[in-house]
Subunit: 249 residues, 2 copies
């Protein structure tokens, strides 16, 4: 049995806030605590805010290319400028959508640059953390210092997908566990060796946690309890194909 | 809090087995029962077996095109023949991979035609159910008849994704709930109207359930308890873009 436990009452996060401290404190408030084997899932939005990855539109000077794309897509030119600065490649521009590859290698709309849940006046944008694995690692270390337990951390963002409607939550930062489980070479229940089966469990954990978060509800952290993860060094890049083997790049 | 509860001890499924009956019985064996608000998640594999969607390779006569593709991809020509019969379109052929669109509209490797967990001799393949929503509906109705409770059913299969390593579990059949949650027009915690946010919750539920299933373990059914789904008519097609708005077709 797996439990997905929302961490309630997280405050509005400000630059410099220590997320590890806050999660431990808020868990205590709801008479809960970390158990060995738990996984912490944290939305990108509060990590970005804590790390100051928020940018005011007012100071942004769009390039001619950004201004051109803004016209094509119906977006604010300053928003497009920020998206381009976060991008390594434009994957698809169509019908007002701008699908890009971020400098980390994630393929998503607008390089994860987002206006929702930032502040009261809609004049700022959040960017993805510069190094989400590093962010996850720092949160994990804080929790370990406070509780003595090594709890893997997954940082998530919601992206769209090719061919399928709607967004789901994906892992963009990982620390303390293997994000991909390799079943190749193991045997199925009939004794056959499984051929292709690497499961992206960190993405499944991200999606599972989202089910208690609910976009608008302001629940940016959840624990997953009872999932037998594979401990060890793991990073979000493990979830991305290298360019050479990617069928869709 | 959400619980994901594995349904243990399901037998090796044979053609004609009644899955709804079996799930209710096996739950009882583990001193568990359906509660209002539960969701049943069932892997495609046992649905296909119960519905006789298993085909012996020995009787298959590959077409010249199937034989050609088999050579290109290093697959058994009879396997390719079956894949083509299940396909509406070949999306990508590269490096031994055959990504197709099934007649239902799912984009996945080999149209979901699979050799693992079928039978002792590796001479048969399973196909996706002809109408996975109908299959989900029949299971839901059986459970309702036996328990008096209306429990949504999601049928799942594991697919790869564009750009990201590894497989995750996806919803391929739905009954009794809305698979996509539409947050457009609702407000975020700062009072801004959210622009694009439709969440494919059925896919997140499918992935969450997979975390207790484990490919090789023979746990083909799980309950998700405590998730506030939106009841109503919903089908797996709600999770697919129409061809006109799909950026990647």
């Amino acid at each position: 049995m797996i439990n997905i436990i929302p961490v309630k009452g997280m405050p509005d996060i400000q630059r410099g806030d220590n997320l590890g401290n806050l999660v431990v404190a808020k868990l205590k408030d709801q008479r809960e605590q970390f158990q060995q084997g738990d996984i912490t899932v944290v939305t990108q939005k509060i990590v970005s805010k804590a790390e100051g990855r928020v940018i005011a539109l007012s100071g942004v000077n769009p390039s001619p290319f950004a201004a051109f794309i803004a016209k094509e897509t119906g977006k604010d030119p300053r928003h497009v400028e920020i998206i381009l600065r976060e991008s390594r490649r434009i994957v698809k521009m169509k019908a007002g959508h701008l699908i890009t590859e971020t400098k980390h290698g994630f393929v998503c709309a607008n390089s994860g640059v987002d206006a929702s849940n930032v502040e009261k006046r809609k004049s700022s944008l959040t960017l993805l953390p510069v190094d989400p694995d590093g962010s996850a690692n720092r949160i994990r270390k804080t929790i370990r210092k406070l509780t003595g337990k090594s709890i893997p951390v997954i940082i998530t963002d919601t992206f769209g997908r090719a061919w399928r409607m709607g967004h789901v939550n994906f892992a963009v930062g990982v620390s303390g566990m293997k994000p991909v489980l390799d079943y190749r070479g193991t045997r199925d229940m009939y004794g056959h060796v499984l051929n292709v089966t690497e499961m992206a469990v960190a993405d499944e954990l991200a999606g599972a946690a989202e089910l208690v978060m609910n976009k608008a509800d302001g629940i940016p952290v959840a624990l997953v309890r009872g999932y037998k993860f594979k401990a060890g060094r793991g990073v979000a890049k493990d979830l991305l194909y290298s360019e050479e083997v990617d069928l869709f790049r």
